[in-house]
Subunit: 168 residues, 2 copies
Amino acid sequence: MLQLKDLPDKEIIRRFAERYPQANVDAVLSFLKVLQVGTDLSLALNQYLAEFDLLQGRWWVLILLMREEDKRATPSTLAEKAGVSRATMTGLLDGLLKERLISREHALVDRRQIEIKLTQAGQDKLDEVMPGYYERVSKLMATIDSDLNQQMIEALTILHNHRQLFFN
Amino acid sequence: MLQLKDLPDKEIIRRFAERYPQANVDAVLSFLKVLQVGTDLSLALNQYLAEFDLLQGRWWVLILLMREEDKRATPSTLAEKAGVSRATMTGLLDGLLKERLISREHALVDRRQIEIKLTQAGQDKLDEVMPGYYERVSKLMATIDSDLNQQMIEALTILHNHRQLFFN
DNA sequence: TTGACATAGTTAGCCAGCTAACTATAATGG
DNA sequence: CCATTATAGTTAGCTGGCTAACTATGTCAA
């Protein structure tokens, strides 16, 4: 994902709109802004997680496991919830296993399945990472007042729900 | 970047907040929403560009070149504006050169520099891609009313400007 | 003028995504 | 009951990011 350090200003978009009359200046600006800020925050998050030898993928797996009552899940459901392929999940779990943050066991009911479980070391890792993560998120989001925040969420939710408009 | 198909609901975050009192439910929800929608739109854009054998990186280089009066730039400035390393830019330019969408010439003034120029084929490619891109962006953004759009941009701009709050 | 430092671009090698192809196991319907 | 189809997980090989190390050229100050 690009960082888009140099977003076009209205003037540049207007120049493009002369050649491409389909261009709507405000629409393009907001679209690019969403992409830009998404990348910003994603990079910032990765940078924080890297201090703990984690990246978004492996960190999110730990969180998904911690959400479960019994701290267990199968690779397939984890892949589905994280939005990555099962192949990628295999790789993420390999990494987590190497650091003993999770364990792998054959499931009893269905012998095709593997049960992934958050280990104590995995829980300890989260206990290290999460407080600083929540602090940073709180500090960052406190720069927007509560009403504006609600409106932003509303707008983003609408975009999320209509994202398939891009695929026609 | 993760797709975060399964965002936590307020109940889950509240459970986490019992263990991690730093957690602010609304802050976490907005933060993740920005990440999620950024990824959504990025994936959707890539999917559209892939129809034209482009991806965000190479597409953005073509746009940056088209913005220039003389359709020229050096790899360094392109890397800076696109927010990628110079090494990555070398790779992107290699790809574009192979399809003859740009040309490379040694600069006259400074013999370390290379001048990259948008070719006619490159301009033709943009003329193919951009109308559909602008149409899709317009259609998508039209789902948010204008006031809400302004508020979203305002909020995102504040977040962008404070992103370094994540690095302490 | 020349030694030290800075800058432009490339190369090599790493990493985390992906798809496609594979094995093993389970479910199902004729 | 067994042939077909579906599902779980892994492997191999591709891609586009990255950093670090390198070459070539330029700049500047003693």
